[in-house]
């Protein structure tokens, strides 16, 4: 070491290159080694969202990830449909709601998660419909569970990419999501009017199945949610009509 001039350009370049190589290789191994685990984590999250919407917000309390996957495989049947409500062939595992969202509405392939009852999976508990849209800063999405009569919202789970913490990001709070439970879809000739967040917060809309208490300070996120739900419920309308009793 003593003969080496540690301030020479050669030494510095060599040092930088060696360090980059070592760190780069290390990171490549870490990333590759954890890839499968990360994919699995994302999949379980989706299963959690679908089950939480379809079976109720507290239905997964105390369940571990493998138990959630097992329950999911037991009660959830996946259908893929087009915007006319016709069944189409598609691999749900590869279907990205985000990519479909970028296509024109009429060309989208939509997954429907038919959730069976916990004690009797062959009987339909709810239809869980994924939706996608824009919030204030970035994309928002939701899994909307419509019960067996295709009219009442049984549960809803929102998620978002970058809404404001404490304001728009509150859509992920169980308390906000509960406000949609029991609200009804209004069928029109070729569209569906989904329940909407109202302006202001703290109002009682118990007897108004189309109105949902809003989030104060998050009007634009709320408007985005309303637009997303209306747009996607309309897309699912031809499918839902066939399930309506």
């Amino acid at each position: 070491m003593s003969k080496l001039n540690r301030n020479s350009n050669g030494y510095i370049f060599g040092y930088a290159i060696l360090l980059t190589l070592v760190c780069g290789t290390l990171l490549a191994f870490v990333s590759e080694g954890l890839k499968e685990k990360q994919k699995a984590a994302i999949l379980v999250e989706k299963q959690k969202f679908i089950l939480r919407a379809g079976l109720g917000a507290t239905s997964l309390n105390g369940l571990t990830d493998p138990m959630i996957t097992e329950l999911y495989n037991q009660v959830v049947k996946v259908e893929t449909i087009n915007s006319k409500g016709e069944s189409v062939e598609a691999d749900e595992a590869k279907l990205s709601i985000f990519k479909e969202y970028k296509k024109p509405a009429a060309e989208r392939t939509l997954p429907v998660y038919v959730v069976g009852k916990k004690d009797n999976p062959s009987e339909v508990e709810s239809f869980v419909l994924p939706t996608y849209g824009n919030g204030l800063w970035d994309n928002i999405w939701a899994y909307v569970a419509i019960d067996g009569d295709a009219e009442t919202i049984e549960g809803i789970v929102f998620d978002h990419k970058g809404e404001t913490p404490g304001l728009g990001a509150r859509i992920t709070d169980a308390e906000i999501q509960e406000r949609f439970v029991g609200k009804k879809l209004a069928y029109e000739a070729s569209s569906i009017n989904a329940p909407d967040f109202q302006k202001g917060e703290g109002n009682n809309f118990d007897n108004e199945p189309q109105k949902v208490d809003g989030m104060s300070g998050a009007t634009i996120t709320g408007t985005g949610v309303n637009a997303m739900l209306d747009a996607y419920m309309t897309l699912y309308q031809p499918y839902l009509v066939t399930k309506k009793k």
Binding site: L19, T20, L26, L27, V30, A41, P165
Partner: protein
């Protein structure tokens, strides 16, 4: 910031005890009299951002502890080979590698928490405590001392953010670690504590108490 150069004093004397008095102070000083947050006022940004709930804060605290300790050891071990002109870059590359590893690991094993912590795990790279310890300590001291120094400083950071998160989750949501501890029947969650502004105030109070106790004043 104090720059400790302990190594120069001990010129190949008899081997120092693994936990000598001086080494114990490496761990205990940053907890109180030389705390990175309350005295040096470093690492504030993440202290405000990740303290909304205890669980995420604990994970953040462990992540920072891992990164500071490992970075201290690695840089300390390399300290005699690092070219002075690019030492900050070398430190950054080592820290960035460690942080990326932590981030990827969290994504694989604690996905929900890593989503909640979002960019703040990545931002450990820019946490002044990490770079501060590398420059002030690891560049001039042996790996074992550096490990203890990293442990002490990150623990000093950890206990402060955990204390803030405790207050914020308790008053902001009536919960601790996600469990409801204040009954909703009589306690209405105070939304203010869910905002970063509350963290700023709680942090201010903690700094006030600690400095009043130690009598520390800014020069």
């Amino acid at each position: 910031m104090s720059t400790e150069v302990i190594e120069k004093v001990e010129v190949k004397k008899e081997t120092e005890a693994l936990f000598s008095k001086k080494r114990k102070s490496l761990v205990s000083n940053p907890m109180d009299s030389d705390n990175p947050i309350t005295i040096q006022v470093l690492g504030i940004c993440s202290a405000l951002a990740v303290t909304i709930a205890l669980q995420g804060t604990l994970i953040m605290a462990f992540a920072v502890m891992f990164v500071v300790m490992m970075a201290n050891v690695v840089i300390s071990a390399l300290r005699n080979t690092i070219p002075n002109r690019i030492r900050i870059i070398v430190q950054l590359v080592v820290v960035a590698t460690l942080v990326a590893t932590v981030d990827q690991t969290l994504r694989a094993f604690a996905y929900e928490q890593s989503k909640a912590l979002s960019v703040f795990v990545g931002l450990i790279i820019t946490n002044c405590i990490v770079m501060g310890r590398l420059e002030a300590f690891a560049m001039g001291n042996k790996p074992w001392d550096s490990l203890l120094d990293g442990f002490g400083n990150s623990l000093g950071y950890a206990w402060i953010i955990i204390a803030i998160a405790f207050v914020r989750e308790l008053l902001g949501a009536g919960k601790l670690l996600g469990f409801q501890v204040l009954d909703k029947a009589w306690y209405t969650a105070n939304g203010f504590f869910a905002t970063p502004a509350a963290a700023c105030i709680i942090l201010g109070v903690i700094i006030w108490i600690l400095r009043a106790r130690s009598g520390y004043v800014e020069d």
